[in-house]
Point group: C2
Chain length 361, copies 2
DNA sequence: TTGTAGGCGTTATCAA
DNA sequence: TTGATAACGCCTACAA
């Protein structure tokens, strides 16, 4: 069916090895034969078979990625970053999605990756409930190098994640600095590690500012704008003195904003709002939303780079120093929902954990 | 490095072929040997190598997908649908992203798919400018079956797309039915086929209603909310009598809504708005947005099913009847931005081009 | 500079 | 019911 090296070799009147050398640009070859071989390749429309190459070379130049929740801006950005860097480094990408559920059995997915002999795996699913209990030495044993995204760093694992706690602290501190005292929070689902981190950051700032956090000030949403509406209604009911709201993401902030409008509250004078994510629409919310930007595209790119290094290391010497952690910082984007006048100022702090994407080798 | 069939065979004291039969559940095998083989598999931790299997069986059980613009809800939904159906049908998915640019050379991506011997390809990139000129018989020659998404159906190609024209007609007709006469349109970039289709649908309704469409009534955005703001400002400048706006997507509608608020216009009494996409946030816009829902998850799922059938067909007999077209209908979701009162009614028409996802064989 | 032999891990063919 | 042998398409080692 397909044209093979043999066919080309026969056509060009040389050996298969010579054709192989031409295809892979290796070894010294006389200009004449190279010419002849290339002509034969063109003529026959030869396309190399990576499966056969992978079989003998024991590497597939393919990475596997497991993602989730592409309907949201964050995961999509991360995936885009992953794909781009993967391509730049010369890999292909096997792609799998996981439902947002504890129940899902991850092993079929891992098996399909192993069966296709991926050189490495990126686990781009948020830490939710106990959906990480599968991460055990025995399970990792049979796998190529893995980089985990968005989880509490654990010894022995390579992790790339956003500093959610500090991000939330920036949001809360901003409100405190503006003189707000009665600050409420709409969290994401607390089964999510990210949500708990953000809540912890919020509480830390409140404590330092000697501000109480009553149970009535904390409500739990599910990331959707609709849940933001519900949460804001609850807040107005159980904590009517609220002066500001920190939302776990921009969607919930949007929903909460809607309720504020319906209730005739002035934003930000009566109630100020801060979101999290800086989705592309957030500058066009009504009013434009102050929010915390995560650099998720970079999270994706960095994780691929880390995986690439891991793969190279494992091949060179068998020493396994897989435990590396990258914590990416956030930016506070200040807009009208907190300061009430046209502004789009970026407050970028000194980077504590700065990073660079390393150039391909 | 890895445990192979041979290792298992040796351990169990049988031939490799016998092990192969056990692994693939084929042929008759005595319970005793099966037992022994399975034990050896467990013991050694054997994982089959799909690369080797693909090499000999001439099929990789892998599909390739080329997508674009995951930052938007639509493409992400489509990709999610593709992934899910792909997994259900027992394939793996090789994933590639294309920048939104005419210039991009698609052949390296196609080559990487062919090199890995994907069984089929889904081209999930919108038709923009002349980014489809590569689709020529010669280029298609060397490829496995391909299904194209979101493009003008062409003879000889398999296409799955949303009926954008009819969708836009629903939106426009809804406004006409509400008694609006001076209706403007904010289009997506007109280099996109989808944008032109939606504009054509809009114009068709206007014509039937004996309503003029002046050049001043049509402005071109770039899908972003920010461009929606700019376009709405232009409209208010050059067509101040505007009573309603049809936007090319929900993001631009959001931006336009913001300008309406800033200008003190009442929605929908002064100006009504309709979007396109039904993004999850749209019920929480201010006011909630009437919009046209595309079933993009289904577009993805249907395209995979079509591809699967194509692959099966090509293998059975060599007859190539690749030209199939599926046109999926839209739903109009009516909300406050047009009717000004709490409502969330779905108008679902009789399906002209109904479809079912066929069960896996 | 070029060629030969052997093997990567699996499945198909044909015997036993 | 099982097994030996030959592919699948490519690359590495070693010669020539």
């Amino acid at each position: 069916m397909h044209v093979t090296l043999q066919d080309v070799a026969r056509q060009a009147g040389v050996s298969t090895k010579t054709v192989s050398r031409v295809v892979n640009n290796q070894g010294e070859i006389s200009a004449a034969t190279r010419q002849r071989v290339q002509q034969a390749i063109e003529q026959l429309g030869y396309r190399p078979n990576f499966l056969a190459r992978s079989l003998v070379s024991q590497r597939s130049s393919t990475l596997g990625v497991v993602a989730s929740g592409l309907g949201y801006f964050g995961p999509s950005s991360t995936l885009t970053g992953i794909e781009q860097r993967t391509f730049e480094l010369g890999y292909s990408l096997l792609f799998s999605l996981l439902p947002h559920s504890d129940e899902t059995n991850v092993f079929p997915i891992l098996d399909s990756f192993v069966a296709r002999r991926v050189d490495g795996i990126i686990w781009a699913v948020s830490e939710i409930g106990n959906n990480r209990t599968w991460i055990q030495p025995e399970a990792l044993q049979g796998l190529p190098p893995v980089v985990f995204l968005t989880m509490e760093p654990k010894p022995g694992l390579s992790v790339v994640t956003v500093d959610n706690r500090t991000g939330a602290m920036r949001a809360a501190q901003h409100l405190v600095d503006l003189g707000k005292r009665r600050i409420a929070v709409i969290t994401g689902p607390l089964a999510w590690w990210e949500s708990r981190e953000r809540l912890a950051g919020f509480k830390e700032v409140m404590q330092k500012a000697n501000l109480e956090v009553l149970p009535a000030q904390v409500v739990e949403g599910d990331w959707t704008a609709t849940s933001g509406r519900r949460c804001m209604l609850e807040l107005l009911e159980q904590y009517p003195q609220v002066e500001a709201v920190v939302a776990g993401n921009d969607q919930m902030a949007l929903g909460a904003l809607g309720i504020a409008h319906q209730s005739g509250l002035k934003v930000p004078d009566d109630v100020a709002f801060v979101g999290f994510d800086n989705v592309p629409d957030s500058p066009c919310f009504w009013p434009p939303l102050t929010t915390v930007e995560q650099h998720l595209f970079e999270v994706g790119a960095v994780s691929v780079q880390m995986l690439h290094n891991l793969i190279a290391t494992r091949q060179d010497d068998m020493v396994e120093l897989a435990s590396e952690v990258r914590l990416l910082q956030t930016d506070l984007i200040i807009r009208e929902s907190t300061i009430g006048m046209p502004a789009d100022k970026v407050v970028r702090p000194v980077e504590q954990d700065s990073f660079k994407i390393q150039p391909p080798k």
